[in-house]
C-alpha cells in the first residue's frame, strides 16, 4: 500500500497571483517530499482555491513537474485534486507550454491534463489495467513494445503511474511492473 501525503494549496489562499508566492509554495512542497521519505504518493489539493494566474500555475506546477521529470525531485506519484474549471484551465495552459502532463482527480474520475490524445488514451488504459507489465500495456493499446515503453516513460516522469522493479524466480535481467498510485 502506498503511503499518501496531502499538500493543501488552498491553505495558502483562495486567490493566487504572483510567481513569488508560487516559488514559496513549490519550495515547501519539495521540502516535504524530501523530508517525508515514506510518502510515495503526493496529492496536491487545490480545494479552496477559487482562482489563480497562469504565471502562478507555471511557477508552481510548471517548474515542479519539470523538476520531477528531470529527476531533481525524489520520484513520487503525484495527483492533483480540487481544481475547478478556471484553475484547471490555468494549469492546462502552463503544462501545454512546457509539454508536460499531470494526473488529476476530477468529478468524472482520474484524467490527464495537458496531454495529447494518445497519452490521454494511454492513461485511460492504465486506469483499466491498474497493475500491469509493459507487454500487457502494449497489448491493451495494440501498439509496439517500444511505443508502449515511450508512453510509460512519460507517464512515470509525470508521476501519473508508478514503476516498480520486480523479481521473478528463475529469470535474470531487470523486470518492471507499473501501477496506479492510489
Amino acid at each position: 500500500m502506498s503511503m499518501c501525503m496531502t499538500f493543501a494549496v488552498g491553505q495558502r489562499g483562495a486567490f493566487l497571483a504572483t510567481r513569488s508566492m508560487a516559488r514559496t509554495i513549490r519550495g515547501d512542497l519539495e521540502e516535504r517530499i524530501a523530508s517525508v521519505v515514506t510518502s510515495e504518493v503526493i496529492v496536491v489539493d487545490f480545494g479552496g482555491v477559487d482562482a489563480m494566474t497562469i504565471s502562478f500555475a507555471d511557477e508552481f506546477l510548471g517548474r515542479f513537474y519539470t523538476d520531477l521529470a528531470s529527476g531533481h525531485i525524489r520520484p513520487v506519484a503525484v495527483l492533483l485534486r480540487g481544481l475547478n474549471e478556471e484553475t484547471t484551465e490555468a494549469v492546462t495552459i502552463c503544462l501545454e507550454r512546457r509539454e508536460l502532463i499531470a494526473a488529476a482527480l476530477a468529478e468524472t474520475g482520474k484524467k490527464l491534463i495537458g496531454a495529447q490524445e494518445f497519452l490521454a488514451e494511454s492513461y485511460r488504459h492504465a486506469l483499466e489495467l491498474r497493475h500491469f507489465k509493459a507487454g500487457e500495456f502494449a497489448a491493451s493499446l495494440g501498439i509496439t513494445p517500444q511505443n508502449a515503453n515511450n508512453r510509460l516513460k512519460r507517464l512515470v516522469a509525470a508521476g501519473a503511474i508508478r514503476k516498480e522493479r520486480i523479481t521473478s524466480p528463475g529469470r535474470g535481467g531487470k523486470e518492471f511492473s507499473y501501477a496506479l498510485p492510489c
Partner: protein, 285 residues
C-alpha cells in the same frame, strides 16, 4: 518626463487621452493641477501618486492643486490619493472633511504595491470581484488582474514601488456593471526592460516595445516566459467588453477585447511618463 512639469488634469478621465496636457514648471518641480478635473478613476488616482513619488525620488517637490468640484476632491481624498502622496507634498486648495464608510466590498483605495503587499492586495481584489460577479467571471477577472500585479512586482520594481487602485461599478447609476483597476509603477519602463534581453535589444521606441510586450513569449529576461500580458488579454475573452491601456515612456498601447474579437493599437506620444501605467476596465454583460 512628467517630472519638473505642470500637468493639467481636466474633464473626464484625462489620463486615458493619448497626449497629456503639460507645460514646463518654472520652479522645476511637479505640479499636478486637478482644478478642472470633472471625473477621475483608478488610473488618475494611481498615476497622480506614482508621479509624485517619482518626482520625490529625484529630489523634487510636488504641488497638488485640488479639484474645483468638491465631489471630485472628496473622491480623491476618499481613495487615499492625498494620504499616499509624499509627506512634503504641498496641497493647494481645500480638502473637505472626510466621511469614510467601509467600502471594502466595492473599492480598493490607492495602495502601495510591492513584493510584500502584492499577495494580500491580490486576495482583496479576488474577494471584491467574487462579491459582485459570477464565480466564472470573477475568476477570469482575477486571473487577468493577477497577471498585472505579478508584472508590476516582477518587472516594475523600483525603490518607490508601484501603486494600485480598483473599483467595482454596480451599474446602479449608469446601468453598466463593471470593474476598473489601475497599476502605476515607477520602474524602468517597458522599453528599457525588454532591451535587457538581447533578442529585443533592437526595439526602436516605446510604442514598438508596448506592441511587442502584448505578444506571447516576449520578455526582458532570458527565461522562457513573457506571457503575462498576452495571458491577461486572453483571460478577458469571456464575453464582456474590456479596454486595456498600457502607457510607458513615450508610448501608449490600447487594446479592446469583446469575446474573441480583439483590436490592438500602439502609438507614440508627445508626453513621456516615468515607469509603466496599466489601466483595465471590464464591462460585465
Amino acid at each position: 518626463m512628467l517630472v519638473g512639469m505642470h500637468l493639467r488634469l481636466s474633464g473626464r478621465h484625462p489620463l486615458l487621452r493619448r497626449n497629456l496636457y503639460q507645460a514646463p514648471d518654472q520652479d522645476g518641480e511637479l505640479v499636478v493641477d486637478a482644478c478642472n478635473l470633472a471625473f477621475a478613476g483608478p488610473l488618475e488616482l494611481t498615476a497622480i501618486v506614482a508621479l509624485a513619488h517619482a518626482a520625490s525620488a529625484k529630489g523634487l517637490g510636488t504641488t497638488f492643486v485640488t479639484a474645483a468640484d468638491p465631489d471630485v476632491t472628496a473622491y480623491l481624498q476618499r481613495m487615499d490619493v492625498i494620504r499616499r502622496m509624499p509627506a512634503d507634498t504641498v496641497i493647494d486648495g481645500r480638502l473637505p472633511a472626510e466621511r469614510r464608510a467601509d467600502l471594502a466590498n466595492a473599492l480598493l483605495e490607492v495602495s502601495h504595491l510591492d513584493g510584500e503587499t502584492a499577495d494580500d492586495l491580490a486576495t482583496r481584489l479576488g474577494r471584491l470581484t467574487a462579491a459582485h460577479f459570477s464565480s466564472a467571471a470573477a475568476a477570469k477577472i482575477f486571473a487577468a488582474v493577477g497577471e498585472l500585479i505579478d508584472n508590476a512586482v516582477d518587472h516594475g520594481t523600483s525603490p518607490e514601488g508601484a501603486f494600485i487602485a480598483a473599483q467595482v461599478y454596480t451599474g446602479a447609476t449608469s446601468g453598466r456593471r463593471g470593474f476598473e483597476v489601475a497599476i502605476c509603477d515607477t520602474g524602468i519602463g517597458v522599453l528599457a526592460h525588454l532591451r535587457r534581453n538581447p533578442a529585443h535589444a533592437a526595439i526602436a521606441d516605446a510604442a514598438g516595445a508596448l506592441a511587442c510586450a502584448l505578444q506571447p513569449g516576449v520578455t526582458g529576461t532570458t527565461e522562457d516566459r513573457g506571457n503575462g500580458l498576452s495571458d491577461l488579454l486572453t483571460r478577458l475573452e469571456f464575453g464582456g467588453l474590456a479596454r486595456f491601456h498600457l502607457r510607458s515612456g513615450a508610448g501608449l498601447a490600447t487594446v479592446t477585447v469583446r469575446s474573441r474579437w480583439r483590436a490592438e493599437r500602439s502609438h507614440s506620444t508627445t508626453t513621456s511618463v516615468h515607469g509603466t501605467w496599466a489601466w483595465l476596465r471590464i464591462r460585465i454583460p
